[in-house]
């Protein structure tokens, strides 16, 4: 049967042949034998649509019926037209020609998918075409209510029709099938590509949403952790509570605080594992595993601090992310490497002769390196004093802005070496720990790590006690 639609103001004509792209559709999208029941229940129609479309239409996922596609694939010979303006306003106008529609209730429903894909649904095919129009929540509506004898009623079924996952296209018969063949191939290709593209974009979107969900959950968990930690009296940088104005580094320092808090919690967990392993006298191999885990966790804080130093060196040096007592005895952004061995006490005894020599050498070398770095820092401070003091600047600033800026530039470059110092200090801490592990046996190393952790947590507890002490 002829289906022809006259478009009101369309430059081109499209004939819809059933040899079109929709030849892939093996089962009719829907076939309305009678138009009576349809119009009233557009919603159900879509429901049916979806159901029937459930299985075989995945290949018709995304059809982007762009103008060119349409126009390539459709020949105008049969005189069918579709509005080039895929607005339903225009379309409906175009469909308004009652005489064309005749009693067959044909119309073109355009369903725009998200992403701009368009699905053409053609009501009825061979027989009494019934036109179904349905909309998609992107808001383009098929409206053939203007058809004179059209029984389809809905114009805006945005809400009625849920997102249709499977689109179908039905093409009405056209007499002009042969001419459409070549164009059909191109259209098929294009449609397939479009389907792929739409599918990919849907998957991307899903992945993104998933990522957002995960981040949100993580955030919620972090906030809970923080609240818990605060209640336990652990000092947490106030900047985390959302007020970032106090820290110059802004989000960089806040991010570091969060990372550090998380690291600390993980560290505590690992140390507890270690403690239970030691207490339950597990075998050396298993103990070594736990020790290795703790050691590699130390490497992680090294990396964290190095990147934190890059983003905000003063925040790291300030130690605001540590408890007050820790902060007081801090050295270049962390604990003193020479203290590591001092806090061991007699935990690692008995030591062999060789081990004793090794430990003594380690003590000495870490002390020497620490002193060297400290002296380097003093030299830095001294040179900054020299640079910034009025001795270095021109006697009277009669427009010697250039001098001033020059000195400032020098001071800036000196300040930049701070990061290197903190980096070296951090490296020293890590290497001292690693060398200690090399010298000691597994069991001794485990006890040593526990002792170090005990010292630090006692220092933190001291901070809390001090903060909570009754004053006056």
């Amino acid at each position: 049967m002829q289906n022809s639609f006259k478009a009101a103001a369309v430059p081109q004509h499209i004939s819809l042949t059933n040899s079109d792209v929709y030849s892939h559709s093996h089962s009719p999208f829907y076939l309305r034998g009678d138009g009576s029941g349809r119009n009233a229940t557009n919603g159900t129609n879509i429901g049916e649509l979806q159901q029937s479309a459930g299985n075989g239409f995945s290949h018709l996922d995304a059809v982007d019926l762009t103008r060119s596609t349409m126009y390539n694939s459709m020949k105008a010979s049969s005189g069918s037209v579709v509005s080039s303006n895929l607005q339903f306003g225009g379309l409906t106008n175009s469909l308004g020609s009652a005489d064309q529609m005749g009693s067959s209730n044909r119309g073109v429903g355009l369903m725009l998918q998200r992403g701009g894909n368009v699905i053409l649904g053609f009501g009825g095919s061979l027989g009494n075409g019934q036109f179904e129009n349905w909309t998609e929540n992107s808001g383009v509506v098929a409206d053939h209510s203007q058809q004179t004898d059209n029984t389809s009623t809905d114009t805006d079924a945005k809400n009625q029709f849920p997102r249709v996952h499977h689109e179908r296209l039905i093409v009405e018969d056209s007499t002009d099938q042969s001419k459409g063949r070549i164009g059909d191939q191109k259209a098929l290709c294009k449609l397939a590509q479009n389907r792929e593209a739409a599918r990919k974009s849907r998957m991307r979107k899903k992945a993104y949403v998933q990522q957002l969900e995960n981040s949100r959950q993580r955030l919620v968990q972090l906030e809970q952790d923080l609240k818990r930690a605060r209640q336990q009296g652990v000092y947490v940088a106030p900047g985390f509570s959302g007020d970032q104005s106090h820290s110059m580094g802004g989000s960089g320092s806040v991010a570091f605080d969060i990372d550090y808090a998380r690291w600390l919690e993980e560290h505590q967990r690992l140390v507890n594992d270690l403690r239970s392993a030691v207490n339950s006298h597990v075998g050396d191999g298993e103990l070594q595993l736990v020790v290795d885990k703790v050691m590699s966790h130390y490497e992680e804080i090294f990396r964290l601090k190095s990147s934190g130093a890059k983003s905000d060196i003063f925040h790291i040096i300030s130690g605001m992310w540590k408890t007050p007592a820790e902060r007081c005895f801090m050295w270049l952004g962390g604990f003193r490497s020479s203290d590591v061995l001092k806090v061991l006490g007699n935990q690692i005894e008995p030591l062999t002769e060789q081990q004793l020599v090794g430990i003594c050498n380690l003590q000495q070398s870490s002390q020497q390196t620490e002193d060297a770095l400290s002296q380097g820092m003093e030299a830095l401070q001294q040179s900054l004093v020299d640079t910034l003091s009025s001795n270095s600047l021109a006697p009277r600033n009669s427009g010697n802005i250039a001098d001033y800026m020059g000195q400032m530039a020098i001071a800036m470059s000196k300040l930049a070496t701070l990061e290197n110092f903190v980096h070296q200090a951090e490296l020293l801490r890590l290497q001292t720990l690693q060398q200690m592990q090399r010298i000691l046996t597994t069991r001794q190393a485990a006890r040593a790590l526990l002792a170090i952790n005990d010292y630090k947590s006692r220092l933190r507890a001291l901070s809390s006690l001090w903060l909570a002490r009754p004053k006056g």
Partner: protein, 139 residues
């Protein structure tokens, strides 16, 4: 034990300066001239730290301040390429062999290999300088 010239004074190799002032050659020559050689800059604080480290170990290294060297600029680029890093100094050579920047020096020191490197090359150096039968004199 002490060897080499004074502690921090610049020690420029005298007019043995050949026409071919290829910076790499020059560096190699300077590095082999003493047991422990540090390339430094007078304004660099990390260099100061390295110097203090060796001093604290009781070693007197030979220090070249390349910012006071007329060919310093080329040497700086050459050193930077040698290290593959962002900064040219400080660079430490022991026994003519490259040890590296502060992190390598520190790493070697902590794991005990620095002292060994030093002792080894000191002995070699002394044997070279004083080719006498008894080495035991120079401990």
């Amino acid at each position: 034990m002490h060897f080499g010239s004074g502690s921090w004074s610049s020690y420029n190799i005298p007019a043995k300066r050949s026409v071919a002032t290829d910076p790499y050659e020059r560096i190699e020559r300077m590095a082999s001239a003493s047991a422990v050689v540090i390339f430094s800059m007078s304004t660099c604080c990390m260099c100061h730290a390295v110097k203090r480290l060796f001093c604290g170990m009781g070693v007197n290294p030979t220090v070249y301040e390349i910012d006071e060297d007329p060919l310093g600029k080329e040497m700086e680029t050459a050193l930077m390429r040698l290290l593959g890093g962002a900064s040219a100094v400080p660079v430490v050579f022991i026994g003519g062999r490259l040890v590296g920047a502060m992190d390598s020096v520190m790493g070697s020191h902590i794991n005990g290999t620095l002292i060994k490197k030093q002792e080894r090359c000191e002995l070699t150096w002394i044997r070279m300088r004083f080719p006498v039968k008894s080495v035991s004199r120079c401990t």
